[in-house]
Symmetry: C2
C-alpha cells in the first residue's frame, strides 16, 4: 500500500528541511531553498512549524546584500534533551544529546552474557540515563525522547525485538519493557537502520540522497537510503547484505546459509582468513576480536596481515560491487568498528576490486568512503529517531491526520 | 537532490490512480480510494484531469446501494494509439496498443548482425509502424506516443543509448535518430526498465508496491520498483543484478568480471552447464540457444536436463535470495524468454534454494512467481512510458511547473 498522505508528505518535507539545517549547523530559509527542491513557501511553512514547537530558533541575522537581513536558523539547544542508546551484545552505550545532536554526556557499561534478559537490559538503560541526567543537572522531564537500538531484527512500529540471535530473543516486546522502566517516549530500532539515518543526516547524506551505509563489525549489513529516506523494505528487514552469497557453497555462516559476505568480512571471518594464511600469526591475539582486528589494521610490513587484508578486500569488494550494480547509489560508506579499524588499509585495494567488478557507468557515479561521523553513529541515529518521533507528536494536528 | 515538487507529486498521484484503473480494467473513484491512500479529493482531481485530456472516460454507472450511482472509469480506447517497440539484437518487435494497453496489431522483423546501425534500426521501426497503422486503417496522427526499448544502458532523459554491447553502440543519440525518421513523441529506455514498469502496472504490481522483476534471457537483470515507482538509481543503471557475483572467482562473464549471476543463469550460461554435465547431450541442439533452452524446459526424465536445472536453480536461487535479503520486497517475479521457458521446471527447486539462503523474516514476506503478463512485456512497458510521457505533456500546465 502506498503511503503518500498529507501527513507523510509533511513529515518528509520536515526531514528535508531539518537535514539541511543539521548538515550546515545553521542555515537561513534561503540556504535551505538552495539545497532542496521544495518551494520557498513550503520551506517557510515547515520552518514556522519547527519554530512553533521550539525545535529551531532564529539565532542570528545574515546580511543579504542590501535587502532585509535574513534570519539564521539553528537547532534550539535550550528546548530539551534527546537520548540515544546503543545496546550491543557486550555493552550498553547511552548518549545524552542536545537538540543540535551534540553528545553532551556519554556512558558505556559492559554487559556480560549472563545479563541478557529484557528486564535487566532495560534496568541498565534506566540507570545509565539517570546517572547522565544527574551529571548535567537535568531531570527526566527535560528529555524529549529516547531512541534505542537493539541488535538483530526489529519491528519498530510494534516496538518488538523480533529476533536477536546473540541473546536468543524471539518476539520480545522490548519497547513496553523499556517504557515501564523509564516512562518517556521511547523508539525502538536496530543498529543498521540507526547508523544509516545518522549517515543520512550527518554523514554522506549532507551531499547525496541515495546512499548505502555498510556496517562491518562482528555482523555485517548495508543500510539503504533512497531519495533522502531510509529504505526499510516490506517488514524492516532490508539491508541484510551481510547474508548475501558471494562465494557459492563457501564458508558456513551463522545464518545457516553458506558463502555469505559476513562469513568473510565480519570480524570472525577476517580472523579465520588470518588463520588460513598463517596459523601461528601472533596478530590473532588468541582469538581476541578487538585486539586482532586492530592489530591487522595498524601493522605494516607483516606478510600474513597483508595477505589477509588482500583477501578481505577481495570478498568485500565483490559484495560492494554487487550493491553498486544492483542499487546504482551515489555513495557507499563503510563504517562500524571493524570497518573503521581496517578501513585505511583496506580502502585502496577495495577500490580496485570494486572497479574490476562494478559496471563502469555505476562505478563512475559512486563515491566509496569511510564513515567520518564522530562518536557512536548508532546512538546518534537512535537519537534522530527520537527527534523524528518527538516532532511527529508535536506537529501532528488533528486536521493533518486526514488523507490528502 | 530530492525531487518532490508539485509536478512530481501530481505525476505520482496520477500514476497511482491510473495503475488502479488498469489493474481492474475499470474502476469507480470509490474503488480507487479503497486501493490507494490518496484522499478522495485528490483522486477526484486526478480523475478530472484524466477525463479532461481524454485518457479516461466514464463508461458506465454502478449501483451504490441506494446512493447516487457511481461512474465507472475506463481507459478511453477512442482517444488514440500508443506504440511499444522492443528492439533486441535479433529482432524489432512493434506493438500498436489502444489506450487500454491492449495490443491491437503486432509485427516482428528479424534483424541480422549486419543491420545494426542506428539509422537502419530506426528505418525498421518506421516501416513496421507504417505497416501496422495501415493494417488498422489509422495514421501517424492517431499515435499519442512511441515508447522504444533498446538493449543495454540508456539515458532516458537525454535519449541516448549509452552502451549497447551487442552492437558496440557507445553514446548513440538514438532518440533524435528515431524522431527524424518518425516525427512523433518518442521515449527511449531499456528492456529491464520497460518490463519492470509493465510488471508494476499489469503484473504483480496490481497487488504490491515493492517488487523485483527478474529478467532471464541471454542477459540477466533485476528491475526494482519501490513504493509503486520504478527505481532507476543515480544514472538509470540500477538493477544490474545479472552482474552481481555469486561465485567468487567463478566463470568469466562478458562484463569483464567473474562469477556473475548471468554467467550461470543467462541462456549461454545454462547451456554451458549442460555441456559440463553431459558434453554429448542432444538437448544442446548444436548451440541453438532457443532450441536448447526450450528443450531443457520441456523434457522430463532426462538426467542431464535434471542436473542442469538443479544447478541453475542453485545459482539463480542464491542470487534471488541475495535480492530478497538486500531489498526485502513483497514480490519477486521471474520473466523473459529463458526464465519463462525454464520456469515451470525451475520454480519448485528455486523456492527451496531461496528458503535455504534467505533470512526467514524476509522470505516470509515475499511471493516468488513467474511473470504472467501476456504478449511482450518489454513493448508493453515501452508503451506505458509513452502513455506517461503523453500525460506529462498534456497535463503539465505552466502553473504547475513551479516548485511546491
Amino acid at each position: 500500500m502506498l503511503r503518500r498522505t498529507t501527513r507523510d508528505i509533511r513529515r518528509a518535507n520536515r526531514i528535508d528541511v531539518l537535514r539541511r539545517v543539521y548538515a550546515f549547523g545553521q542555515a537561513s530559509r534561503q540556504d535551505i531553498a538552495r539545497h532542496c527542491e521544495l518551494s520557498f513557501a513550503t520551506i517557510a511553512n515547515v520552518v514556522n512549524d519547527l519554530l512553533g514547537c521550539g525545535a529551531l530558533v532564529e539565532a542570528d541575522f545574515q546580511d543579504s546584500g542590501g535587502g532585509r537581513p535574513r534570519a539564521v536558523l539553528t537547532p534550539n539547544t535550550a528546548r530539551g534533551l534527546l537520548v540515544g542508546v546503543d545496546i550491543a551484545e557486550t555493552y550498553v552505550h547511552v548518549d545524552l544529546f542536545d537538540l543540535a545532536l551534540k553528545a553532551k554526556h556519554t556512558s558505556e557499561h559492559p554487559i556480560g552474557p549472563e545479563t541478557n534478559q529484557p528486564q535487566e537490559v532495560a534496568d541498565h538503560v534506566a540507570q545509565a540515563l539517570d546517572t547522565l541526567l544527574a551529571e548535567c543537572g537535568a531531570s527526566r522531564t527535560d528529555v524529549l525522547g529516547v531512541g534505542v537500538s537493539v541488535p538483530g531484527q526489529v519491528d519498530p512500529d510494534k516496538g518488538v525485538s523480533v529476533f536477536a540471535p546473540g541473546w536468543d530473543w524471539h518476539d520480545v516486546p522490548f519497547l513496553s519493557v523499556l517504557r515501564r522502566r523509564i516512562d518517556l517516549p521511547v523508539y525502538l530500532d536496530n543498529p543498521l537502520m540507526a547508523s544509516t539515518v545518522a549517515e543520512l543526516w550527518l554523514g554522506a547524506g549532507r551531499e547525496v540522497d541515495n546512499l548505502v551505509c555498510i556496517t562491518v563489525g562482528t555482523g555485517v549489513g548495508a543500510g539503504i537510503a533512497i531519495n533522502g529516506s531510509l529504505y526499510r523494505g516490506t517488514n524492516n528487514a532490508a539491508g541484510e547484505w551481510g547474508h548475501s552469497v558471494v562465494v557459492f557453497d563457501g564458508r558456513s555462516c551463522r545464518c545457516g546459509s553458506r558463502g555469505c559476505v559476513e562469513a568473510y568480512v565480519g570480524a570472525p571471518g577476517v580472523m579465520r582468513t588470518l588463520m588460513e594464511v598463517d596459523r601461528s600469526s601472533p596478530l590473532y591475539h588468541d582469538g581476541d576480536q578487538t585486539a586482532c582486528i586492530e592489530a591487522l589494521g595498524a601493522v605494516h610490513g607483516d606478510p600474513a596481515a597483508t595477505e589477509t587484508i588482500k583477501r578481505t578486500a577481495g570478498h568485500l569488494g565483490a559484495g560492494v560491487a554487487n550493491l553498486i550494480n544492483i542499487l546504482n547509489p551515489e555513495a557507499v560508506v563503510v563504517g562500524s568498528w571493524a570497518g573503521l579499524a581496517l578501513g585505511p588499509r583496506l580502502l585502496p585495494e577495495l577500490r580496485e576490486v570494486v572497479a574490476a567488478h562494478a559496471l563502469a557507468r555505476s562505478n563512475s557515479a559512486v563515491q566509496l568512503r569511510l564513515c567520518d561521523i564522530p562518536g557512536n553513529p548508532v546512538s546518534l541515529g537512535a537519537a534522530i529517531f527520537a527527534l523524528e518521533g518527538f516532532l511527529d507528536e508535536a506537529l501532528t494536528r488533528p486536521a493533518s491526520r486526514t488523507k490528502r
